[in-house]
């Protein structure tokens, strides 16, 4: 719906709340990239900055919830307006979770900096983070421009992140089997990898909200999955 409401204050309210979501998205993207950089560079100050920054993300989610509740109460949105209000709530909730994962990555970075380095892990997790940030950024662009094709593309790309995670899982397993002293850092690194993989799932959820917002229905066919970790370890896998 590109046409404007007869009551223009309604347009302003809807735009304002969507603007907050975009701002929140930007903050979350920065948090992920900073957390990944801190991990790769073993930069404790930067990790601390990410941890502290999560409060602002949480506060913004609360503000979005409040503004949307007001909008629903005062404007009684229907049809695509209602879907916009609902998608705003869901997307803000997904972004908040992603922010938590970035914060968790920063926390583990503080611990990992005290331990010996697992070669290649920091770089691999940084590449994975970049892929996820790109997905997130495209999902939010798709939201902003109501672009279903781009949203579908993001959904399809989650497969690549799943594959990256599976590869890292095997790599960490190998390090841990080689030398038990690797177990503690590799466990932390594995949780980080898993959390980045979960961020990809949230980017996918946001894309699905875009599809719901535009078409009025959630995408039906299940998306391709490439996370074979749940079966890894079984003989022959």
């Amino acid at each position: 719906m590109s046409e404007q409401h007869i009551l223009r204050a309604f347009d302003r309210d809807l735009e304002a709340v969507q603007g907050l979501v975009m701002r929140m998205g930007g903050m979350v993207e920065t948090a992920i990239l900073d957390a990944a950089e801190a991990l790769a560079a073993r930069d404790e100050d930067m990790a601390e900055k990410v941890r502290a920054g999560d409060k602002a993300i949480d506060a913004l989610e609360e503000k979005i919830n409040e503004e949307t509740a007001r909008l629903i109460a005062l404007r009684a949105p229907a049809a695509s307006d209602l879907r916009t209000a609902l998608s705003v709530l869901k997307i803000a909730s997904s972004l908040e979770r992603v922010g938590d994962f970035a914060k968790n990555m920063a926390k583990r970075t503080t611990v990992l900096s005290q331990m010996h380095d697992i070669p290649g892990a920091g770089g691999a997790l940084k590449r994975m983070s970049k892929a996820v940030v790109q997905m997130l950024s495209d999902a939010l662009d798709a939201y902003n421009s109501r672009d279903v094709a781009l949203a579908e593309d993001v959904r399809a790309r989650d497969r690549e992140v799943d594959q990256m995670y599976t590869a890292l899982f095997r790599e960490f397993l190998t390090h841990m089997m080689e030398d038990p002293r690797n177990i503690t850092p590799c466990m932390h690194l594995h949780f980080i990898a898993k959390n980045i993989e979960r961020m990809g799932d949230h980017a996918t959820t946001i894309s699905e909200q875009v599809i719901y917002l535009v078409t009025g229905a959630m995408p039906e066919e299940s998306r391709p999955k490439a996370d074979s970790v749940t079966t890894a370890g079984i003989e022959g896998k």
């Binding site: 719906m1 046409e3 409401h5 009684a76 229907a78 049809a79 307006d81 209602l82 879907r83």
Partner: protein, 265 residues
């Protein structure tokens, strides 16, 4: 979307009470209703929405032949209630209106007592044999209209002395006194305050256990609150007709979307 209101899922399973096919209405040369097909389900509230002049009230008035009273008005097409053509020559419009009751925008009680207002229909249609039966019908109708407790001690006072909301409920009691099968309501709450509106809406929800209710309303929120099915009229056309939850969350026609979201359509 069919599941929007779980309690009302059965709505779509109800039998059709009214079937309209190819209905055209002309006021002189003005083509007010253009080829409308619609099925109104039994024991269901159906809301007609649309901008002023879209034909929703005109169509409503076709359903009990109220348009017969307008000399320049011409109705074509076929409207059946329980399979019977209501425009058939053998159908007496007065008898039809006992089966298809109507409540109007402005409460219009007769300048008679509360009792006589409700007793009017049963009396002229000879529906009761004696005073005791008539008393029973009056009480039952006033109870159905959720008015009994407020007026039982002053049934002989004039109906026009009641408050606006009470007057409207009195008109509803009068309309249900003849035990109609269908109740037509033309903006029944537009002259009422929010409390009286809520009481009438609660009443509409109760009435659908026994009647097929068709309500014309300018308040989209009211249509959303009380109806199970919603029809959107625009420029004399029936643009979209569907389950109320679907119409208000995911309308299929862009004109419906523009109207219910308050955009310039």
């Amino acid at each position: 979307m069919e599941d929007m209101r779980l309690a009302d899922r059965t709505a779509s399973a109800r039998e059709n009470k009214i079937t309209a096919r190819g209905v055209q209405v002309y006021y002189g040369t003005n083509h007010a209703i253009k080829d409308v097909d619609v099925d109104i389900a039994d024991r269901t509230v159906t809301a007609f929405i649309g901008p002023s002049g879209c034909g929703k009230s005109t169509f409503l008035r076709c359903l009990n032949r109220m348009n017969d009273t307008i000399p320049i008005c011409r109705v074509e097409g076929r409207i059946e209630i329980d399979g019977e053509d209501i425009y058939d020559k053998r159908v007496d419009p007065v008898q039809l209106r006992a089966r298809v009751g109507m409540v109007f925008q402005k409460p219009n009680p007769f300048p008679k007592s509360i009792y006589d207002n409700v007793a009017y229909g049963p009396r002229i249609h000879g529906l009761t044999r004696n005073r005791a039966e008539l008393d029973e019908v009056v009480e039952k109708s006033l109870r159905r209209a959720a008015l009994w407790n407020e007026v039982k001690d002053r049934l002989t006072s004039p109906g026009t002395g009641l408050s606006g909301g009470q007057q409207q409920r009195l008109c509803i009691a009068r309309a249900v006194a003849t035990s109609p099968e269908v109740l037509l309501m033309d903006e029944p709450c537009s002259a009422l305050d929010p409390i009286a509106t809520a009481q009438v809406e609660e009443l509409i929800d109760e009435l659908r256990e026994n009647f097929s209710v068709v309500i014309v309303t300018h308040s989209m929120q009211q249509a959303a609150r009380v109806s199970q099915r919603t029809a959107f009229f625009h420029l004399g056309n029936l643009v979209e007709f569907g389950e109320t939850g679907q119409i208000f969350t995911n309308p299929r026609d862009p004109r419906t979307e523009a109207y219910i979201t308050g955009r310039i359509g």
